[in-house]
């Protein structure tokens, strides 16, 4: 017992310093020539929720699969709590669990069978697996559905079953790859509530292309674009990376005014115009737009604005891109909405 306490004490010290670290992590698929990940380096404390945002094809899934020991990187290293994803994969797998992006429940099984089977794979005994599965499903409001066939459940419920599986496990890190894609707004908000509960006990690594989701859940947020980590930090850090405090958006489908912006940044695209500027200038522009009868919205700078701003700026820095990507981005997110 004494040695157990000593070991627990050592572990306490180690956990205080628990970090998820990537060091020049790169991945090029053998079939392709483009790098899916390009020298990604960062280090985050393994607590709360880390959200990785980026559009489709930005490398989010590749990164999460490498960290979850499903995929080998081409070069570079990644580790959690000092355990390397390549060298110490067996030990690391004791601590991690993942719900992949396109994971689906097996239709001929029930939620109880699905969750308890996953726990058996994690090495729990049969009765403990059943108890844990029942508790997890109950906590997600799935008690009455636990013995129905998965094929009879709604999309949101099926997602919950998979989340219940990893939630009921003893994993310290939970990877969720775009867990709310395809869910209706109500189910998505229910899922957010669930996430807030999970993050109290585990480190959750989540990818999404819903920026409002990142804003709602992320203690730390990373922005990935074309395999490169564009920026990372808390929401506050990211806000500070944009020196403007207000965003004025003039939607397309009406006459776009000729804007005279004193201190600010104007971004244009098929979506209309987006102006990032200071408070005083934003209200001056607003008054002008009201005078001209032009529809617009004015808001404090959101994660959407920061993302478009940073990705556009990095795009210019990396590839001499003059903002064409930004238009694609807006189009993409408009479609998503």
């Amino acid at each position: 017992m004494g040695s157990a306490m000593i070991m627990a004490g050592r572990l306490m010290g180690a956990l205080d310093a628990s970090m998820l670290t990537c060091d020049r992590l790169s991945k090029t698929y053998s079939a392709g020539t483009r790098e899916a990940l390009s020298s990604v380096s960062y280090s985050v404390p393994a607590s709360g929720t880390f959200v990785l945002i980026g559009r489709n094809g930005s490398g989010k899934t590749t990164l999460i699969r490498i960290l979850a020991t499903e995929l080998e990187p081409t070069s570079g290293r990644a580790s959690f709590d000092g355990l390397d994803v390549m060298r110490d994969a067996v030990r690391l797998r004791e601590k991690i669990a993942i719900v992949p992006q396109e994971a689906r429940t097996v239709p001929w099984m029930t939620p109880m069978q699905t969750v308890s089977s996953y726990l058996l794979w994690r090495g729990f005994g049969y009765s403990e697996a059943r108890h844990r599965a029942a508790d997890a499903l109950d906590s997600l409001g799935m008690k009455v559905y636990m013995d129905r066939l998965n094929r009879t459940l709604s999309g949101g419920m099926k997602r919950k079953v998979l989340v219940a599986a990893v939630l009921s496990s003893d994993a310290e890190i939970i990877f969720l790859d775009e867990p709310t894609t395809g869910l209706d707004p109500v189910s998505r908000r229910e899922f957010w509530e669930l996430m807030r509960e999970i993050e109290k006990e585990r480190f959750t690594f989540l990818t999404t292309h819903y920026l409002e989701e990142a804003e709602a859940l992320g203690d730390r947020i990373g922005m990935l674009e074309s395999g490169r980590l564009v920026r990372m930090g808390t929401l506050e850090d990211l806000r500070h990376s944009v020196r403007y405090s207000y965003s004025v958006v003039i939607p397309a489908g009406q006459k776009q005014p000729v804007l005279r912006v004193g201190d600010g940044e104007v971004m244009r695209g098929s979506y209309g115009s987006r102006i990032l500027t200071g408070e005083e200038e934003a209200f001056r522009i607003s008054r002008d737009l009201i005078k001209d009868g032009i529809r617009f919205s004015i808001n404090p700078v959101s994660l959407d604005d920061i993302f478009f701003y940073l990705v556009n700026r990095e795009g210019i820095e990396y590839a001499g891109n003059q903002g064409a990507d930004l238009e694609q981005l807006h189009q993409h997110y408009k479609e998503e909405e």
Binding site: L15, E94, G123, G125, D170
Partner: protein, 263 residues
């Protein structure tokens, strides 16, 4: 603070927790056979029909003279079919449900996962094996040594088909490709070769092609043990060596080519 302490304690428990290997092994069997059989009982009929249909065909065409060979052939086809099914099921769980990805990132090793899945295919074949077992009591007469040899042959066929199934499963990327592989393997190794009847029924030049399939050697040994054909001691030895060697080589290929973590 309380939450932090709880996390640390859970992490400690996690570190010293003993993983139940039997549970991990059982999970594959439950998911891939028992739950399916329990929730969709109609699959039980399907597993019986496939080997029995060939048996009936051969018995009718031969006017009952090949019933013993056909029952033995049914056993061999059931065993080989298990590998074909393994290929399709592994591929299905990996590509369509991403379930294998969840297992890869868990404490289960590939050997435990695949062994469990392999045994699940045997469990799935149980209805057919029971029917064939009953028929063999009446139509197949084996000595004690013959019975042991026959079981050994079936185990080697099972191992061969598992190695083929696992290797193909790692290379198939979707359900269409997976079914194409399944049909190809099944046709090449259990439908075309002389599994349900003696090889002497095949005209001589084509016999050499039949010998390219390991199931031909398996059927030959089974028919020899049942007293349906005569083989020289050298031919018996050659058949065992070929069957064992093919199994070993396929396992080596599966071990070196098959992928658990993707590259």
């Amino acid at each position: 603070m309380l939450e932090t302490r709880e996390r640390i304690w859970n992490s400690y428990i996690n570190t010293i927790r003993k993983r139940n290997r039997f549970s991990q092994f059982t999970a594959s069997i439950l998911v891939n056979s028992l739950y399916e059989m329990k929730n969709y009982p109609v699959v039980l009929v399907n597993t019986v029909l496939s080997p029995i249909s060939f048996l009936l065909l051969i018995v009718f065409v031969s006017h009952g003279s090949l019933v013993g060979e056909a029952v033995e052939g049914g056993f061999i086809m059931s065993m080989f079919g298990a590998g074909t099914s393994l290929q399709a099921d592994l591929s299905h769980l990996k590509n369509d449900f991403k379930l294998q990805d969840m297992v890869v990132s868990s404490p289960t090793s590939w050997i435990t996962y695949v062994s469990g899945m392999a045994i699940s295919e045997l469990v799935y074949s149980l209805p057919a094996l029971i029917v064939l077992g009953v028929l063999s009591v009446y139509f197949v007469h084996l000595s004690a040594v013959g019975l042991v040899s026959f079981i050994a042959v079936l185990m080697l066929v099972f191992a061969t088909s598992m190695a083929i199934g696992y290797t193909f499963a790692t290379f198939s990327t979707d359900i269409v490709q997976s079914f194409a592989f399944s049909r190809l393997i099944s046709t090449l190794f259990s439908t075309i070769p002389p599994v349900y009847y003696p090889i002497t029924y095949i005209p001589l030049p084509y016999r050499y092609l039949a010998y390219l399939s390991p199931t031909t050697y398996a059927a030959q040994l089974a028919q020899y043990e049942g007293g349906y054909i005569q083989l020289s001691p050298e031919m018996v030895l050659v058949s065992w060596v070929v069957l064992a060697s093919v199994t070993a080589v396929l396992f080596l290929i599966a071990g070196s080519k098959a992928r658990w973590r993707e590259k």
